[in-house]
């Protein structure tokens, strides 16, 4: 039945007051929300404790559900594989031939790299991940790109640690709860990573665009040297990310850089590794071998 045009619920004083205070509470809720928003906009960490606790509560269920995600994707991949196998075999054979050549070149480079490093007395810190865990969810309806992982302070995860998949960088830990943590994905508009082109080391910044792609902004503007298909890796400057981690591949050029597609699509990633903050590892390594740098002639 339609509500009467007069909003009074009847002659009952109690019902009238109830109705009235309902509206008062609604407007008060609006004001309270605006107040919360005012404080949380000034300070991004506002409510981090509450969010951490809430995410800890839902993490076990989400973790169980995350397992089914990869199975479902595997099922569709198997189905579609029947229709595209011929084309793919031809393409893969061609790629393998190219990769063999590249591998030989890489081996030569690695050998040269080793020699140069030995000359400089540098040792590469063996970096073991803090923990390997599952990606359990992402803020898929908000314009901010956060994901959740199923490991928190209990597993040694701290704010600032890099999160990566076997294919490349996924993001960075921004909030930690007891058994879950929130990760800022590299496609978020707030994420800015110092990167370089893999082949020659042209410096740039990789900023997320919020729509699944990344904007590569060159540090030095001028003639745009980037080309489609260029691989972008972390440069390690700033000390947050380990150098030479794959980030993205250029798909389209812009006047001041390029649009790139991230290599590790979080949608296809099940397990991720949380790595210690690079700067601290580097410091620990150089502290362990104090003579290495000073004994040079």
């Amino acid at each position: 039945m339609a509500a009467p045009s007069n909003r009074r619920p009847g002659y009952s004083r109690r019902a009238q007051y109830g109705n009235f205070f309902g509206y008062v509470a609604a407007v008060a809720g609006l004001g309270l929300g605006a107040l919360l928003l005012f404080f949380s906009l000034g300070n991004n960490d506002a409510g981090a404790g509450m969010r951490g606790a809430a995410s800890d509560l839902t993490a076990p269920v989400a973790n169980a559900a995350a397992g089914t995600r990869s199975e479902a994707q595997g099922f569709w991949a198997t189905l579609s594989g029947y229709f595209t196998s011929g084309v793919r075999v031809a393409r893969l054979e061609k790629e393998v031939a190219e990769a063999r050549v590249k591998l030989a070149e890489q081996a030569a480079l690695r050998e040269e790299n080793g020699r140069l490093k030995a000359m400089l007395g540098l040792t590469e810190g063996e970096q073991r991940p803090v923990v390997v865990t599952r990606l359990i969810g992402s803020t898929s309806s908000s314009s901010r790109r956060y994901a959740a992982i199923a490991a928190g302070t209990a597993q040694g995860v701290r704010v600032g640690m890099a999160v990566r998949s076997p294919l490349g960088l996924v993001g960075r830990v921004v909030e930690v709860g007891g058994s879950s943590a929130r990760v800022l994905l590299i496609t978020d508009t707030d994420s800015s990573i110092p990167v370089r082109r893999a082949v020659d080391g042209i410096q740039a910044y990789a900023n997320g665009r919020g729509d699944g792609t990344i904007h590569i902004r060159l540090a030095v503007t001028g003639l745009n040297p980037l080309k489609k298909g260029d691989a972008i890796v972390t440069s390690g400057s700033g000390g947050l990310y380990r150098p030479n981690q794959a980030v993205a591949v250029v798909v389209q050029l812009t006047p001041d850089g390029a649009i790139a597609r991230p290599l590790s699509d979080p949608a296809l990633t099940e397990f991720v590794a949380v790595e210690p903050v690079y700067e601290e590892v580097a410091e620990a390594t150089s502290a362990a071998q104090p003579g290495a740098a000073t004994e040079q002639p």
């Binding site: 509500a3 809720g29 989400a62 969810g137 959740a148 496609t187």
Partner: protein, 183 residues
């Protein structure tokens, strides 16, 4: 012959002699369904772009249009706060937007008391659009810099998802009113 599923579902919430719906189920179902929608970020869908419709908001609008007055006008505060815990938006964004939507839907309910489903959808469209655009603007104030164009796929998907949300709410409404309590 067993009744087809469709008509079996229609029988679900019908009143029966000597039986009444459970008050707990009748009151709790709408709140739980909206909160379940707000939990969508914990579902196993990881996306590198915003694509999922804001399910909590869609379900709230659908409930409010199907059963006006079922939620108190101030329901935006608790439901919005719950949504903010998981959505990734700055804290308070859903509180403001849910509360404003509840007040505005109340106005519309009193202005156009008789509505069909088509008009409901038509009313829901500007609400969803405003919600997505304002939520994105608030997220941008909180440190993001997403372009409006990046929201287009999500907007289209959300507008098309409203009928699904509405039929889910219709089903939940029948479930809510199953007469299980013996008088």
């Amino acid at each position: 012959m067993p009744a087809p599923l469709q008509s079996a579902l229609h029988e679900l919430g019908k009143p029966r002699i000597n039986r009444a719906p459970s008050p707990i189920l009748a009151v709790a179902t709408p709140w739980l369904l909206v909160m379940l929608g707000s939990l969508s970020p914990t579902w196993p869908i990881i996306s590198s772009a915003p694509v999922m419709p804001p399910l909590g908001f869609l379900l709230l609008v659908a409930w409010q249009q199907l059963r006006p007055g079922l939620f108190p006008v101030w329901a935006g505060l608790p439901l919005g706060l719950f949504d903010d815990l998981f959505s990734g938006q700055p804290l308070g964004s859903a509180v403001v937007l849910y509360s404003a939507a509840m007040l505005a839907l109340d106005l519309i309910e009193h202005r156009f008391p008789w509505r069909g489903f088509a008009l409901n959808w038509l009313v829901a469209c500007p609400f969803i659009t405003a919600y997505l655009v304002l939520a994105q603007q608030l997220a941008n104030l909180g440190g993001g810099a997403t372009e409006l164009a990046a929201m287009l796929p999500q907007l289209v998907l959300s507008l098309l998802a409203y009928p699904l949300a509405a039929s889910l709410v219709g089903l939940a409404d029948r479930f809510r009113l199953i007469p299980i309590r013996a008088l």
